[in-house]
């Protein structure tokens, strides 16, 4: 039998060195007995100590094992050293062992590491500092009873969080202290060493009592996350019993008591969310206000808002797209997404100033289906295009443009009032009424969707050519006027 005596409860380096030596010497797990100094195995020979001699040779273990072992060794279970050695021994023949989630040794070690991490987390949560002295002279001292050997593991968290105040966390195993510069450790002490009260604890208890909703009593859920063993060091825990006892009564009272008449008259100092009132002079503004509440088809329901047109009220040219997209729906403005950027570029190349242009859409709500975290664009139906058409017509009547450019099939259908194939009708002006011409072209988002770079460049050129035709017509009609 090989006896190993580690220097202290969390002596990972000692364990690692001993385990390395034992593995290289071919010592089987069942032939090793592990213990900690001061708590030695009864039958350990007097000369049993950490081996200092290192045999030649090397072997590898997965980095994950080392991480796991560093944490699991902090568990209070005395069997942990032997379990870790057995795993190490088995890992040499089976490098993927840790991936076998159904292996009993892997289950044990994972459970140990998990228990340590949970205890660390609970220490971060349940330490309660008590103030000694006031203001600039204050020190903060806490008493905590961890389940495992986690004080060293948990202390850096407090140092990073409470860097500007001197604190100590006292525990029966080990005490941690922060002086504003470094964490230091001293041996464990008794509870009597810690302060017994704090001036804010009564306020905290009141908060705890009020934030509790007596109509939703779920004592088990509380105890799963805050087991009773922690209660004795939590100042608020003294409230738990009376709160549970009074819960049913206060919940029933809320249900039974009728609402009282309001004492004071209901009067508002200021109208909340006051909306702009429309003025008769500003026709486009009136339309915009009216369209904001449009319910002519069901698309409003799932969308954020009506995306109305934008641009000068007497623009000579009106650009009509299909419908707002994801970004337009959020911003409430047409053509602000990627298609809008492409349109801006093409307008500049065609020599059309943005301030000459009024942009709008044939359908003014975003149509989509939700797919997890994205919204998939859906083509509007004929019914929806029809329902939305009056807005376009009223916009056109207010603006009186000389030219309407319909971009894409939906826009062409909205503008011309019938299904119109793009390619057959693009490249020439169409009479819309006696004052207005129409021009049909593709939608800029069509260009974005083309997968082939050459096709994209070619189609973009055609799109710019269409816009150039619009620009030429504008110049001509401006001269005529």
């Amino acid at each position: 039998m090989n006896y190993v005596i580690l220097a202290h409860e969390t002596d990972f380096d000692g364990w690692r060195q001993a385990a390395r030596t034992l593995v290289l010497d071919g010592v089987r797990p069942e032939d090793v007995t592990w213990s900690v100094k001061g708590d030695e195995e009864l039958f350990a020979p007097a000369d049993a100590a950490s081996p200092s001699r290192l045999p030649a040779g090397t072997f590898n273990v997965p980095a994950r094992f080392i991480e796991l072992a560093r944490i699991a060794i902090l568990h209070r279970d005395r069997e942990r050293f032997a379990l870790l050695y057995r795993l190490l021994w088995r890992l040499r023949g089976d490098h993927d062992l840790l991936d076998v989630a159904t292996d009993p040794d892997v289950i044990s070690i994972t459970a140990m590491a998990k228990a340590v991490r949970r205890d660390e987390h609970k220490m971060h949560a349940f330490v309660r500092f008590r103030e000694i002295g006031r203001e600039r002279e204050a020190r903060y001292v806490a008493w905590f009873e961890p389940e495992h050997h986690i004080v060293g593991l948990a202390a850096p968290f407090f140092a990073r969080r409470f860097a500007d105040m001197p604190w100590s966390i006292l525990t029966p195993d080990l005490c941690a202290h922060w002086d504003g510069f470094a964490v230091s450790f001293t041996p464990g002490v008794g509870k009597a060493e810690a302060p017994s009260s704090d001036r804010l604890e009564e306020t905290w208890r009141r908060y705890y009592a009020t934030i509790f909703n007596p109509a939703r009593l779920k004592v088990k859920a509380m105890q799963t996350e805050m087991p009773k063993k922690y209660w004795r060091n939590l100042p608020e825990a003294s409230m738990i019993k009376p709160l549970i006892a009074g819960a049913a009564h206060s919940a029933d009272a809320m249900i039974a008591n009728a609402a009282t008449e309001p004492h004071k008259a209901q009067r508002r100092l200021e109208e909340p969310m006051r909306r702009k009132t429309a003025t008769a002079a500003d026709n486009l503004e009136t339309l915009r206000e009216e369209a904001a509440g449009c319910r002519a088809c069901p698309l409003w329901k799932d969308a954020t808002q009506t995306v109305f047109g934008e641009g000068p009220s007497h623009a000579p040219i009106m650009l009509v797209g299909e419908q707002p997209g994801d970004k337009e729906d959020l911003a409430g403005k047409p053509f602000v997404g990627p298609a809008g950027q492409m349109l801006d570029r093409a307008l500049i190349e065609a020599g059309i100033e943005r301030k000459q242009v009024y942009v709008t859409n044939a359908v003014k709500h975003f149509k989509f289906v939700p797919r997890g975290k994205i919204r998939l664009h859906q083509k509007p139906s004929t019914a929806e295009i029809k329902a939305c058409r009056p807005w376009y017509e009223r916009e056109k009547a207010a603006i009186k443009p000389v030219l309407v450019v319909a971009m894409g099939a939906t826009a062409a259908q909205g503008v011309l009032g019938r299904i119109t194939p793009i390619n057959k009708n693009r490249g020439h002006l169409i009479d819309l009424d006696d004052k207005t011409k129409a021009l049909v072209t593709v939608h800029p988002s069509y260009l974005l969707r083309l997968p082939d770079a050459d096709a994209k460049a070619r189609e973009y050129e055609r799109f710019v050519d269409d816009l150039k035709m619009a620009a030429a017509f504008l110049r001509k009609s401006a001269r005529a006027a």
Binding site: D99, T102, M165, T203, T210, F212, M254, Q305, L330
Partner: protein, 409 residues
């Protein structure tokens, strides 16, 4: 009125907001020696639990419970006779710091009744956060309630100081909000959520850009829906959630069973809160976000989730033709749809099955409830009898005995 009394009134007024999360934000600490506080890695920290089973992570208070609005379901509605109070900016700041130094909390969740106007109210809320961050260099967690229709500059500033912003959608259906909360406007709420999403996306660091965009609520935005105050069924609720997740990329939709409040209006169902329904909705929400389910397939037919069995089991019972599933071969997506299989268990199964075959005795080791899963799966030593999956009384096996059903609905 002393601060302690104010705290009682203003915490009581805030407790119907379910969220107390302090997770998912950027990493910060005070190890530079200037200021106080840090954020917790991963899941956030719950510093205590109340007997209602809810986590206490943040100091959750209202700045004032005076309110212009008269929302029937709300304890702070203007026609209620609850006592009113208002904190000064300094009082909230000091209370937050005092609680924080004692390790009672992760930070502050500040909301407010609407007083004067949306902008005035939002500005008061922002002032608290500004004082904590700029004057006291507070590095802990801050959650601010966003007031719909508040000025863009105020929202930008709120996002600069806060980790999370939220606006409550309140009830799943627009027409019930119009009835229950006449001054609230779903369209204004949605527009503001839309603005928040645009700002959140602008603030995402771009790998190519040299300058870092200005900070905006690194823990994102969330919302809350009250369950049981109106007649909306579960299908409507889940469809609304799916819409909100997709449209505004919310981190969370919180479901809050409508609970009796002091001085409650008689226009509402004054009954114990439907806690089991709330629980089933959270399960369904999880199925949508982490298990690849669409809102439409979770609730089919009646529009309601069953209360006695969980929604995934209910789905599996409706789709028995997809089972039994061979655990050794099934895809991740398929495994996620097996009753009793959690996400972690599925990860472990996929790792383990490369190296070892999975037997029925292993289910317990993988923390999978055996009785629930076995009828739906094939293991190396287990194959359910075809008659079992076809049996009309299969559903009966999973239902709790009548005596255990204690939830009023």
């Amino acid at each position: 009125m002393d601060v302690q009394r104010k705290l009682e009134i203003l915490a009581d007024a805030a407790k119907y907001d379910a969220s107390c999360a302090s997770s998912g934000t950027e990493m910060r600490d005070s190890s530079d020696g200037k200021g106080l506080g840090s954020t917790a890695p991963g899941m956030g920290i719950c510093h205590s639990y109340a007997p209602d089973g809810r986590c206490i992570s943040l100091l959750k208070v209202l700045l004032t419970n005076a309110c212009n609005y008269d929302c029937l379901y709300c304890v702070n509605r203007s026609s209620s006779n609850v006592p009113r109070a208002r904190f000064t900016i300094e009082e909230v700041v000091k209370l937050t710091l005092d609680f924080y130094r004692r390790n009672y909390i992760e930070g502050l969740f500040l909301s407010s009744g609407i007083i004067r106007s949306a902008d005035y109210t939002m500005e008061q809320v922002v002032r608290v956060a500004r004082s904590l961050r700029e004057e006291h260099h507070f590095r802990g967690y801050i959650h601010l309630k966003t007031i719909p229709e508040a000025d863009d500059a105020l929202i930008t500033e709120a996002g600069k100081y806060a980790d999370r912003l939220s606006i409550n959608i309140e009830v799943p259906e627009e027409r019930s909000l119009a009835r229950l909360a006449p001054e609230k406007d779903v369209r204004a709420i949605r527009r503001t959520m839309g603005r928040l999403r645009l700002k959140l996306e602008e603030a995402k660091p771009d790998e190519k850009a040299k300058t870092r965009p200005s900070r905006f609520a690194p823990a994102g935005q969330s919302t809350q829906m009250i369950i049981g105050a109106d007649a909306a069924d579960d299908q409507t609720i889940l469809a609304t959630s799916a819409n909100l997740y997709g449209a505004y990329r919310l981190k969370r939709v919180y479901y809050s069973a409508f609970s009796p409040i002091p001085d409650a209006s008689r226009a509402l169902p004054l009954a114990p809160p439907p806690l089991m329904r709330e629980h089933r909705l959270y399960q369904a929400d999880w199925l949508m976000r982490f298990y690849g389910f669409e809102a439409g397939e979770i609730v089919e037919g009646s529009g309601w989730l069953p209360l006695d069995i969980d929604p995934k089991l209910a789905w599996a019972l409706r789709h028995r033709d997809r089972f039994p599933l061979d655990v050794a071969r099934a895809s991740r997506e398929e495994l996620l749809r097996v009753p009793g299989f959690g996400r972690k268990a599925v990860d472990r199964i996929i790792e383990t099955r490369r190296l070892a075959s999975i037997r029925s005795a292993d289910l317990g080791r993988l923390h999978i409830p055996k009785q629930k899963a076995l009828p739906f799966i094939i293991l190396s030593d287990h194959r359910p009898s075809p008659a079992l999956l076809d049996a009309a009384n299969l559903a009966q096996r999973f239902k709790p005995k009548a005596a255990q059903l204690r939830f009023d609905f």
